[in-house]
């Protein structure tokens, strides 16, 4: 660990002096950030466990078990935060340097600087005027409740539920159950000590400022989990896809499905999320929700390039449907603005297209 840190400290300076960043430095930086992200996830989970321990201790007739749990989590949390401090500083510096060099369009106000490795420029939704129109329209949805209520109308067949973070973990452990069972069960709700009823409906049920998890369910197709940070905001920080029949404590916004198809979609979704956040943080959640909605055709829409539904992915040797949906030119525009629609007709990539892993990279 010590050795790696000193090497990381040396690397940023040596990278700056060369014309191009050697892949190794970039890979190291990415690796550090990945470690940091894992530690952050550990901290989050630790916080949930602490809350759970507190919750359990609120029950009558408890032993000292919750106290032990609490102390154990407390010490492991402190360790995680310490590790994070150590890794985070170096990783962030190295990564920021590389990002500034090679992904300038991700920085606000730094357009126009192209490089060999990044060939896809930022595509605007039609003309500049319609982009402004879009932003003006979306500025109406600054609160989570407004946003979700609007989105629910746009997206039939998709069920949206909101949860506090701990409540989602409880729910995840009770999965799987079919959508019908779930809707029936909601009438015989558990008597939580916390008075919130996190299940049916939108934010009427959960206090809006505590919503940290959004569940998007397409019955029999997929379940997507979005994490919001901070709670109650409209800032997504993670997203993951799962089979509608999957259940367990690993079903959360940073978890991975046991099925290959959903693992691939989740990996692609992480990149889409970064893109939406990098483009416009205020509309990121709105774009993400609409982009996720396009996955209702995951098992029916053939690839726009090879025209087949199933294809053998060369890298993984797996048969997969088209798991990629383009996000770079994705326009989550209202259908009531015909001007925007006509100007996007020239785009070759749009939300209704789907691509296999291999077909997508060739297209881009």
């Amino acid at each position: 660990m010590q050795q790696q840190q000193t090497q990381a400290a040396r690397n940023p300076t040596s990278a700056e002096s060369t014309a191009e960043a050697p892949p190794k430095q970039v890979a190291l930086a990415m690796d550090r950030l990945a470690q940091a992200a894992r530690l952050i996830a550990d901290v989050r989970l630790g916080a949930d466990r602490l809350l759970e321990a507190l919750f359990v201790s609120a029950q009558p007739h408890q032993t000292t078990k919750p106290l032990h749990l609490f102390l154990k989590e407390d010490s492991s949390m402190r360790q995680h935060l310490q590790d994070l401090r150590t890794i985070g500083i170096l990783a962030l510096k190295a990564f920021t340097d590389q990002k500034r060099r090679f992904f300038p369009h991700l920085d606000d106000g730094l357009n126009g600087q192209s490089s060999a490795s990044e060939s896809v420029p930022k595509k605007h939704c039609g003309s500049q005027i319609s982009t402004v129109t879009q932003q003006e329209e979306l500025s109406d949805y600054r609160t989570l409740s407004d946003l979700l209520m609007h989105v629910e109308k746009d997206m039939p067949n998709m069920k949206i539920f909101t949860y506090q973070r701990l409540d989602w973990l409880k729910r995840a452990s009770t999965l799987p159950c079919s959508a019908e069972e779930f809707l029936m069960d909601s009438s015989k709700e558990h008597d939580f000590h916390i008075s919130n009823k996190p299940r049916l409906g939108l934010l009427g049920a959960v206090a809006a400022d505590k919503v940290a998890v959004i569940e998007l369910l397409f019955p029999s197709i997929f379940r997507a989990i979005i994490s919001l940070h901070p709670a109650g905001s409209i800032d997504p920080d993670a997203v993951a896809f799962f089979s509608p029949d999957e259940g367990g404590s690993y079903v959360h916004a940073r978890g991975f499905s046991v099925y290959h198809v959903f693992k691939h979609v989740t990996e692609h979704a992480a990149m889409a999320l970064q893109y939406f956040l990098g483009t416009n943080t205020e509309t990121a959640l709105y774009s993400l929700l609409h982009w996720i909605f396009s996955y209702q055709t995951l098992f029916t829409e053939p690839c726009s390039k090879c025209k087949r539904l199933l294809s053998m992915d060369r890298q993984s040797d797996l048969l997969l449907p088209p798991v990629h949906r383009p996000y770079r030119s994705f326009c989550a525009i209202k259908s009531s603005s015909p001007q925007s629609i006509s100007s996007t007709k020239n785009q070759t990539l749009d939300a209704s297209h789907a691509y296999h892993v291999g077909c997508f990279s060739e297209e881009a």
């Binding site: 079919s178 029999s220 197709i221 089979s243 509608p244 029949d245 499905s257 099925y259 290959h260 198809v261 959903f262 098992f299 029916t300 087949r308 539904l309 199933l310 053998m312 993984s316 040797d317 797996l318 048969l319 997969l320 449907p321």
Partner: protein, 225 residues
């Protein structure tokens, strides 16, 4: 539970199934990156009623089947295809039937072979043989798509798989092809959400197909041996 389609081998007119074909089918699974995992076995039993008195035979079903499936070791499935009845029972029902002596096992068949993992797909290739002998009477293929349970939502995916499978099979020039006949599950009271009862009904359908493929009555008798 994940849905599956059960296929049976339909030999071309004038040909019969043999173990070489079974080997070719297994190799085909491996050619599309199937990883051999282990063995599987299902059994199917035809029951005939035991008449104690002069009861009217027509009241008793002639196509009363019992099926045991590897994925449900504690369950036993009964099907009366003509009446569109399927029933899931505890596996101890077989012992009860023995004691009651109301129905006796007329003939038993075994479906067994190897299982292959292909990413989110699971394949089972199996030979069909009477339980008492090793004579190959047919080949079955199970294709399971693990992420989904809805038959409607997964139809195109399974169709896509069949296309890829047929392409791989056509390279081997075998005298026959795999057929899938989807039973009308609704008639059996089953829903779109897949269960082992659906599998039991598919096997009963496959059985009916295998028998009807045998032309003469004499050949039919010989088929069971």
């Amino acid at each position: 539970m994940p849905l599956k389609w059960v296929f049976h081998w339909q030999p071309n007119a004038g040909t019969t199934v043999n173990s070489q074909m079974l080997t070719e089918v297994s190799q085909c699974a491996e050619s599309i990156n199937g990883v051999k995992e282990g063995r599987w076995k299902a059994t199917l039993t035809f029951y005939k009623p035991m008449f104690r008195d002069q009861a009217v035979p027509a009241e008793y079903p002639r196509d009363f089947l019992g099926i045991s499936l590897p994925e449900q070791p504690n369950r036993y499935y009964f099907i009366i295809r003509s009446q569109k009845i399927v029933l899931e029972a505890d596996s101890s029902i077989q012992m009860i039937m023995e004691k009651l002596q109301s129905y006796k096992s007329r003939v038993s068949l075994t479906f067994e072979g190897f299982q292959y993992q292909l990413g989110d797909f699971q394949l089972r290739v199996g030979k069909v043989a009477p339980s008492a002998s090793e004579n190959l009477r047919g080949i079955v293929l199970e294709v399971e798509y693990l992420p989904l349970s809805s038959m409607e939502k997964s139809r195109q995916i399974l169709d896509g798989f069949v296309e890829i499978w047929q392409e791989a099979m056509s390279k081997r020039s075998l005298p026959g092809h795999f057929m899938h006949i989807e039973p009308n599950f609704a008639e059996f009271g089953l829903s779109d959400h897949y269960t082992s009862q659906h599998t039991a009904v598919q096997y009963a359908t496959v059985m009916a197909q295998l028998i009807s493929a045998v032309q003469t009555a004499q050949a039919k008798v010989a088929w069971w041996e």
